[in-house]
């Protein structure tokens, strides 16, 4: 592999990793806070992409879609948590089952509303070109995805460490019961967390749509990759989501071209290795079973 090729594939891997981070951040947040593995996360991602498709068709603006889809998904999350999840609080398996049900309903509704054919979102004007980089040209949009992923990680880190909401979330992740005893409205906090998780999934859907397209089955792929990222990185921490996506993105990219017969097996080999030597994930916190 020539240095130019190595560099280009590294960029491909990083931009894929950045996208995985946007996708996995929401899943990780919801798990850390609420102890719920939200299996509807992939469906939220898919819905975000389709909402973006409609916004772009109506207004022609990708940037409007980038704002509208997360808001729509956030609203849906804000509705679903008190309506459904709250009733099963503490019953983890039932909650997981419930989120599977929610994902089935969402995916079927998407099929009815938007159809089941393959769709694609055009690249936003200004980001549809390529720039000269070492060893040739590289698409601007993929560089944008990397930048966006880094900016989002920084923004989440600031919110997490420097704001009151971030403080409450950290406290909730540590011990939600105690937080409630101290007079914090944990119901509201949980609803907001779930909404933010859904909004992040929707955001990932918009960012991914121009590259990966829209089609039935995209929800399952997204869910699988985001689960791999959070398991490898460590469930429930921001650092874990970063570490997981920075590792899984490039490994998946290089794995697919170097060992193409085992393309799908490479990332699962990583999962197996990490679970074997560090069962909590790379940066996972040790959780005591409650």
């Amino acid at each position: 592999m020539s240095p130019e090729l190595l560099f280009q594939q590294a960029l491909n891997g990083l931009s894929f990793g950045a996208l995985l981070f946007i996708l996995a951040a929401g899943l990780s947040l919801v798990f850390g806070m609420m102890d719920v593995v939200n299996l509807a996360h992939g469906a939220f991602y898919m819905l975000g992409a389709y909402v973006a498709l409609s916004v772009v068709q109506l207004t022609g603006s990708f940037w409007l879609a980038l704002v509208a889809a997360p808001i729509a998904l956030g609203a849906l999350g804000l509705l679903l948590e008190p309506l459904l999840l709250r009733r099963l609080r503490g019953r983890h398996l039932d909650q997981v089952l419930l989120t599977i049900g929610v994902s089935l309903v969402i995916v079927d509704q998407i099929g009815l509303l938007w159809g089941r054919e393959v769709r694609s979102l055009p690249f936003p004007p200004g980001l549809d070109g390529s720039v000269a980089l070492i060893g040739g040209v590289y698409p601007v949009y993929r560089l944008f995805v990397i930048a966006f992923g880094i900016a989002l990680a920084a923004a989440i880190a600031v919110i997490y460490r420097r704001t009151k909401l971030g403080m409450l979330i950290r406290a909730g992740v540590e011990d939600a019961e105690m937080l409630g005893a101290l007079g914090v409205n944990t119901d509201r906090l949980f609803a907001i967390t779930f909404a933010v998780g859904a909004a992040l999934a929707g955001l990932a859907g918009v960012i991914a749509a121009p590259v990966f397209g829209l089609q039935p089955g995209m929800d399952v792929d997204a869910l699988l990759y985001s689960l791999v990222v959070v398991v490898v990185g460590g469930l429930g921490t921001l650092g874990g989501a970063v570490a997981g996506s920075v590792l899984v993105g490039p490994v998946d990219t290089f794995g697919k071209v170097l060992f193409q017969e085992f393309a799908l097996a490479v990332i699962f080999a990583i999962v197996a290795l990490v679970l074997l030597f560090k069962p909590t994930g790379l940066l996972g916190r040790i959780r005591i079973a409650r």
Binding site: N12, G115, P216, G217, D221, K256, E261
Partner: protein, 426 residues
């Protein structure tokens, strides 16, 4: 349902025929009661006629995906069936048609179970459909054993209409026909044609699953026949999300002619990434099996696919009277253009209709039924249509098409025709 079939197997093993299920008894007895109450309501054609005889309802079991990744293919094939039904007043050889649709959801086990339902419970007269090749292979034993006439209207795996060692992974059957294509037909001729014209060196990019690898192998055979060679390949997994790693690999090797096998979402992703990474400017040229540039893909990628040369047995722009009528009829019924899957299904219906006409509508003798289908020949939207008598795969013209955008419309323009391509199966 599973219980029924198990019972039947058991009965067959013990050497007696299983006579009447509880459900059949209930249906029969209530029908008899109804008939006794209202004899005037019974239609003349239906009364007293033996099973599967002329005038009696013709049950067509259609096994298609209506959910999952191939849902849109299933929908398209259903539309074509309904169109044929409407244009022929819902009858074939004077027998009223009844479609029974089952959704295989692209899960092989589900499709196998639904096939058993068609055979045991619905007792359909003929089966049609099946999109994925693995499913077509999986239902082959049951279909063959039941002497069920099955017209495969999509799955293109070569083995289904060939004589293979130990029938692995599948093999031809007197009762199985195909109205679509074999992998060989859409990949070998274009390899042969282009290499004979002087394009000798090729790089391959194909979805890494049975049908993709089979097509790549057939293309390679065609190229090698004329002294050409394949210099390398990339094989992304089926339903691959990110094509950048693979297209980057293509761009970092010197062979400029790339033959690819992708369809649907994969094709859209491949073509978009191909342009994003600047392959046209770097002198790379895209070739492929026709699905790479069918309508479902072109409407999303538009002029990004310009210049791609692909081969298929049909194109919506094909200039013949049957195709013009078919496209017009389809558009009168639905607000969209027909696709190749609709043509495959429509031709399957037509072949069935022609065979029934020659049988006077009698489908009781499955061997006669098979014989009648073998003799079918008609003008289809794709050109002359006939089954190869030895394999039951269609003998058809293959068209070379180039994607061009004129007046805002991106279409496949016909470059040339390779006449009467027959699958080499024995």
């Amino acid at each position: 349902m599973g219980g029924f079939s198990k019972k039947n197997d058991l009965a067959a093993k013990r050497g007696y025929t299983y006579r009447l299920t509880r459900r059949q008894f209930l249906v029969a007895s209530s029908a008899a009661a109804l008939a006794a109450c209202a004899p005037a309501a019974v239609t003349p054609g239906a009364s007293g006629s033996p099973s599967a005889a002329p005038g009696k309802e013709l049950k067509i079991g259609q096994l298609l995906p209506f959910t999952g990744v191939y849902a849109e293919l299933g929908n398209s094939m259903r539309r074509a069936s309904e169109l044929y039904f409407k244009l022929n007043d819902g009858r074939m050889a004077n027998r009223p048609i009844k479609f029974i649709y089952e959704d295989d959801a692209n899960v092989t086990a589900t499709g196998v179970a639904k096939t058993q339902k068609f055979i045991d419970q619905d007792q359909v007269d003929v089966m049609m459909g099946v999109v994925p090749t693995p499913l077509a292979y999986a239902i082959r034993p049951a279909v063959h054993a039941a002497k069920m006439i099955f017209i495969d209207t999509n799955a293109g795996g070569n083995a289904l209409t060939r004589d293979t060692a130990d029938c692995k992974p599948a093999c031809k059957s007197p009762y199985i026909f195909r109205s679509s294509f074999s992998s060989y037909q859409i990949s070998y001729p274009i390899g042969d044609y282009l290499s004979a014209k002087g394009t000798k060196d090729w790089f391959l990019a194909y979805a890494n699953y049975g049908f993709g690898t089979e097509s790549a192998a057939d293309f390679t055979t065609g190229v090698k026949k004329n002294g050409g060679s394949v210099t390398g390949n990339v094989a992304p997994p089926l339903a691959n999300a990110d094509f950048a790693p693979f297209v980057t690999q293509i761009k970092n090797q010197p062979t400029k002619n790339v033959y690819s096998f992708f369809s649907g979402a994969d094709a859209v992703g491949f073509i978009k990434t191909w342009n994003q990474l600047g392959l046209p400017a770097a002198g790379y040229k895209m070739y492929g099996a026709g699905f790479l540039t069918e309508q479902d893909v072109l409407k999303e990628v538009k002029d990004l696919a310009n210049g791609a040369v692909t081969s298929l047995f049909w194109a919506v722009e094909l200039d013949n009277a049957e195709n013009k009528k078919f496209v017009a009829d389809f558009q009168k019924q639905y607000p969209l253009l027909p696709d190749v899957f609709a043509v495959q299904q429509y031709d399957g219906m037509r072949a069935l209709d022609e065979a029934l006409k020659s049988l006077g509508g009698d489908t009781t003798d499955k061997d006669k039924f098979s014989k009648a289908l073998e003799d079918v020949a008609f003008k289809s939207p794709r050109g002359d249509f006939a089954f190869d008598k030895t394999t039951h795969n269609p003998i058809q013209d293959i068209y070379l098409r180039e994607v061009k955008t004129t007046g805002g419309q991106t279409v496949n323009t016909i470059l040339d025709k390779i006449a009467k391509v027959t699958d080499p199966g024995k």
